[in-house]
Each structure stands twice: as C-alpha cells, then as structure tokens.
Subunit: 293 residues, 3 copies
C-alpha cells in the first residue's frame, strides 16, 4: 500500500508557460505581467521559485533576499544570518559570509517571517535594486500594499559592480577592520521612491542619526567608528560614523557587543522608541526585501 | 565540460498524473489511494512534496507539520522551533511564532528526525486534524505501523477556526501573559482513535498529570499557572494548570526556565521515567506528526 | 493583479531528458557525460537536484553530502551539524544523528559554504565513495580544478555495509562510549587518488599525527582515547588514538570540550598552523564533499 510513484509529472501539463533566468526575462520575453510567484532557472540549471514584482516602474523585479530581525535582543545569535550567528567574535571578522557566498535559505512566502536568500542573489545579472520594508509576517498578497517604504535605483549601478550584490560584496568585503569609516565605504546610489519619500524614510531611524545621513540614497559596505562594516544603509547616504544605528547586515564583530545583529544597534536607546539613536518600531518590525532588475 | 543544462524536463514525462491542493483533493478528484509522497500545489502556486495518508478513515490526510524534540535538555535552544530557539526570554513572549507565520522548514522524509512545516500548514483549508506519535528516526514506510498513537477529529472544528492551524493560532495567539489558565484556553475537540486508545494515551504522560486531564480530546492554546500558553495537548482535555507536563509547543517564555522547549517539561521528574510529572520514554522519543483533512 | 497561477509547467518542455535514481544511472542508461547539476528521483519519489561528477574514472558519481567547518572556535555550536550543535554534552552521546537519519539540509551550489546533505545520502544504493576537499566558498564550476585532494575507493566496500553511509552508520553507530579506540573502529578502505597523493594528504594534518596514521585509506567510525567516535578519517588508516586531530564528524561529546565540532580538534596547536597536532590552513578551510557510485 506504500506508493513509490508520485504525481510530480502532472506539473508538465496545463497550458505551457515559459521559464526564464529572472523576472525581467519573464516579463520582457514572455509578457507575464502579474505580481506573484514564478519559477526561474539559473544559469547552472537550478530551478527555484520566487516572487516577481511585475508592475512597479515597468515591472521585472526579482525578489532575491530578505533581511528579517527575529530577535534584536539576541546579539549575533541564531537568526542573524546577515551578520553572525556565532556570538560577537573578534576572531570571526567576516561573520556568516552570506552576502558573499552561494548559501541559500528560507522561502519566498516566508520572507517576512525569517531571512531569505535564493539562487538569484548570486546568479542573476542585473542593473538595479529595489527595496521594500514590509511589516513582519505580512502575507505575500499584502506585501506591496502594506510596505512602509518602497524604492528602486535606476542608474544601472550594479553593472559597475559585477551585476549583483554577490559580486559587489566580493569587491567590497564585509570584514571587521577591513577599512575605516568614510574612507573605505562602498557605493552610495540615488533612489526613486515608489512608496513613501526620502525624508520620511530617513526619519524612520533615530533622531540622533539625522546629522549623519542624507536622504534619497541606498548605500553599501559602510564602516563605523569601530571599523565594523555594515552591508546596506537603506534610504540614506552616510556622512557620519555611527552607521550601526541605521544600517543593517555586515561582518561578525561589533564593538560593543550589544550592537551585533542583523539590525545592529537600531535599539540603542530602547526598542522601537524612536528617540536618540533608536529607530521607530515600524521599521524595526519590518523585513527588508531586496529585488534585482 | 560543465553542464548548464539539466534533465529536469524529464519529470514531465511518464504517464500524466494530476495535481491538487491537498491529499484530500488528490484522493477525491483523482482517486490516488496509496500512502506515500505526493506533490501538491498551493493556492499561490507553490509546488511542494509531502506525505499523504490515503487509507485511514477514507484517506485524504495531508501531513503538514511535525514537532520533534531534538534535545529536551536544551531549554529553548537550537531545534526548539515550536517554542523558542533564543533561550528562555520574558521579552520574547511570542517565541518563534512558527505556529502563526508562513515560515517553512524541514522535509517530509525527515519529519521524524527534525521539525517539519510545509506550505500546506497555512495554505490548505481543512475541517479536521489527525495526529500520529511516531518513534524518532522511523523511516516513512514504517511510520504508520510503528506509531504508538494515531487519532483524528471528525467534528469539522477547523471550519470554525479559519480552516487550519495557522488561522486558529491567529485567533488564539501564543503569547506569554496573553491569558490565564482555564479561562482563556482554546478549543478542546473530541477524537477518534485509529491506533491506541484514549486511556493509554493519557497515561503516556506522568502519573501526577492524571488528575489534570480527561482522555479522548485534542486541545489547543492551553495556559499554565504561570500564564505561558502551550500550543497543543495531544489526547487530552485539560482541567488543570500544569500543562507544561503534557502539552507541546507554545510561546517563548516559561517559568522556570527548565520548562522551556518544544516538549516543555515532559522530563520534570527525570527523562522518560514515567514517574511524577515525567512522561514515558516512548512518547518523549516520538515525533508528533500533524495532518489536515 | 496578484497571480495565483505560475509558470512551473514550462519545465516539462524543451527536449526531453531522462531522470534516474543516481548520477550513475544517468550516465549508464542515458549517456549524460558532463559534470554539473542534475535532477534525481529517489525510490520514494522525492525529486532533488545535485551535482554529478560525470568524468572521474568513468563518471557517475553523485554528490550526497558536504562537511563544512563554519567556525572551528565554536565548539559544537550552530553549524556543527555533523557532530553536535547543542554544546558539548555528555548526555547527548549521539549528537545530531545526521550521519544516521533522514534529515536533509543545504543546497548543492552552497556545499562549499555550508553543510549539505541530500536524499541520495540515504536513498542511493552504491558501491564506492569519492571524496573531494574543496576550498570554502569555491563556485561549483571551479570545484574540480580547485580541489586540494580528490580520491575514490574501488573495492565496492559499501555493498558489505548496506549500500550507503546511512546504512553503514546504522551498523557502526556514532555514540560516545559506544566502543574503544582501535578495538571497535569501523572499516578502513584503500583509496585511489584522482588529484594529490596519499603522502601529501596525510601530511595536511599536524606533524604530531604522522605516527598515528597510514596514508592511502579512508576510514569510518574511529574512536579516540576518550571513547568519542569520529565519523570519517579522510586519506588515512588510523593506528593511533588521537583521532580528533585528523578525523571529522562524529557524536555529541568530546573530552575536553575544545575538541568538539565538525573538524574536531584540527586546531589543537593553533588555527591552521600545521605544527604539532594542528592541520594545515588549506585543509581546515576546505569543505569535504562526499560522493557515491
């Protein structure tokens, strides 16, 4: 009575649809124009499923990653895949290395409830990024409407950096003491808002950060005073050195330890208080979804 | 010599079989009647593979989750996905939230060796649940025969609670101090045994628990004296307040800390001793498999 | 505008290719002869993707697992899936049990950046193993060329041990105090080198280990002085009892604790120093890829 056959073959039926390497290819070559889940096939032949934004600014945006803070009190503990899950360790200067390796985790539908990284993160060759801050645990069909911020770049900056974030972070490694504040930061790229605006985005972070940031950009590999690199500063260009209060992701060591974690030290002056160096509760409790096009 | 093509397309061949949203649909619409692995397709288009019980009480049961205690001495540490993996934290009152989010983990064949949760957990709209307690590391082809307890509900109680456990736990959140013992417990539903019986199931838990439980039910969201909610009490209705000794899963904080974990405090009077408040070794070393129909 | 259909069906198109249970079957029955990713289908109907080495010694080698040391300073902490992730615990004598259960994790392309175990590990019936030591984070297309050591067995030893490592470790359980050094070790099997040689492989481990090993073998379930079993000793036969310095994987308890972890105590006399009992940096920073044929 135990079945060793299965019904997988059925998936080849129904009306034929075509497959591509990215949402952009699905949109441009095959005309798919609805937001939702699609299957993609990597250049090495991996077939995977992710969310395509087929409508913003002409569509063709592929979801490749989400950064979700599961427990801001857990300082570089389980769930901090975009910094370190090993504790705050000086002899672990690169942290988990997930910004710059081919390890994948999570699922598209779970992207607001846990970290997510798919094959597209390192496989797709793209020009621009789009970023959404979506409240934790929002269901996929509500992501777009519930996002508190949505923006994209349109300068093709990725083409100068290897075509995706995997390649960008080969060029700008995230290593403790791999550079110094202001001097060795990576690119800062102007953004166009699809929901929200530059000023309100900047002001999601703590009031004490306002003097350190210029709104209207997305920035990569930004060092702080203690020479810890952070991966991404969303919505802002960085003109100061306390980036742990408004950037996310990075290497494996922060100083002091209570700054270690995917959302670093967004809670420095209390969780979600939006006073001093603390970000608002809204942005602290939103996952960051990253797309390529 | 490096292949960038692959043979995935072959899966569309062989004799066509049909695909559905649940094992029930596969059984009713397409006549599949053997236990085993099948592919399902969610309402959002996710294709995933899980185990279907196609024979018990007419069949059509979809495996959607397993709760596996990997280390009862690890108190809310790695592997306690159904409570907390962050340690026992008062300021983490919801725990991992996996009962009420769309995060998935594990694989069907690995469901007796680690936790499992698939897309069906939140996608399938069902009427009833079935529960199997299967010895750890049993191979799939032996699950049914080796289960120490198997039962199902037949009152369509899920239809009153949103159609699945994801929805039920939206209605009955698992939050520390979100309610009190006896007063705020969720539904308790009569069960029909497919293997074992009500009395022997109840008596798998420690002798000291007998005065607190009535056999022949499955219960959801049960608070203990310390206001910690547990997710499921398998086999029993709860008439006491020491539910940490016979319920599993829940929020992120237990008091005292040694009660924290997926199987909570089933080892209070020693591991597997079946004396005092301790459950039998048999049920402690079995994974709990949960099905919908 | 939200799509609930998807384009998965497209995968049934293009020219038909055939599917098998192992890379060997794909090679022998269907003539695939390029290294790369292929889809396989298990005896229970699970479809999964892994890397096939289609060229070494006639090809037909299926990648089933990788052992990757993410942080040798983390002693049986997160990432030590092949020993224990629960800390070094005497009452956790079997550790994670992943050598002997059906839990799977990781992805083929991520196999040099994190641990990997697929369905083939327990499903495929094979005769021999092949082992590659590949530098961490190497991309799949460079694995073969960048490997520091590659070898295979050709004595069909797996046929005497159940046909795969899952079965072998049922016969030779990895349990602390489950045996003693020298007396209860598992099989030691001669190897043929595909890249590198026996002597240089042995000499990747610390100079102090040379008196304890004979080059030209791969060995399984080897106990040390403290009765801790290790899973695999790559490149060597073991004639001593300090196996924690040149074997990997194993149970959940080591004595002292600083020997606990996937690469055990390869760093005893400093990380990557290649002095005393410490292995070279090269082998310490390489993932071990395991294939069946």
């Amino acid at each position: 009575m135990f079945s060793s056959n299965n019904n997988f073959q059925a998936m080849g039926r129904e009306k034929d649809k075509l497959i591509g390497k990215s949402c952009k290819e699905l949109k441009e070559k095959h005309g798919f124009d609805k937001d939702g889940l699609y299957y993609l096939k990597s250049s090495t032949g991996v077939i995977y499923e992710t969310f395509c934004d087929m409508t913003t600014d002409g569509g063709g945006w592929t979801l490749v990653a989400s950064i979700h803070e599961n427990n801001i009190n857990g300082k570089c503990t389980l769930g901090d895949r975009w910094t370190s899950q090993q504790g705050n360790l000086e002899n672990f200067p690169h942290g988990e290395r997930n910004w710059a390796n081919r390890v994948i985790f999570g699922s598209a539908e779970g992207a607001t409830g846990d970290d997510y990284k798919n094959v597209g993160y390192y496989d797709i060759k793209a020009l621009d990024v789009s970023v959404w801050h979506v409240p934790n645990d929002a269901a996929m069909e509500h992501w777009k409407a519930s996002a508190i911020i949505r923006y994209h770049t349109n300068s093709a900056f990725l083409s100068l950096n290897g075509g995706n974030l995997y390649e960008l972070f080969q060029r700008y490694p995230l290593k403790y003491k791999g550079g110094t504040c202001q001097t060795d930061n990576g690119p800062s790229v102007p953004i166009v808002f699809d929901f929200g605006d530059a000023k309100s985005t900047k002001e999601m972070y703590g009031p004490s950060t306002y003097g350190e940031t210029e709104p209207g950009y997305v920035s990569f590999r930004v060092f702080n005073y203690e020479q810890t690199p952070m991966a991404v500063c969303s919505g802002v260009k960085v003109i100061g050195c306390n980036s742990e209060h408004y950037c996310f992701g990075g290497g494996g060591y922060f100083n002091p330890a209570r700054q270690c974690g995917d959302f670093a030290s967004w809670d420095w002056d209390g969780y979600g208080t939006h006073t001093g160096w603390s970000a608002s509760q809204k942005i602290t409790e939103s996952a960051v979804l990253m797309f390529y096009r």
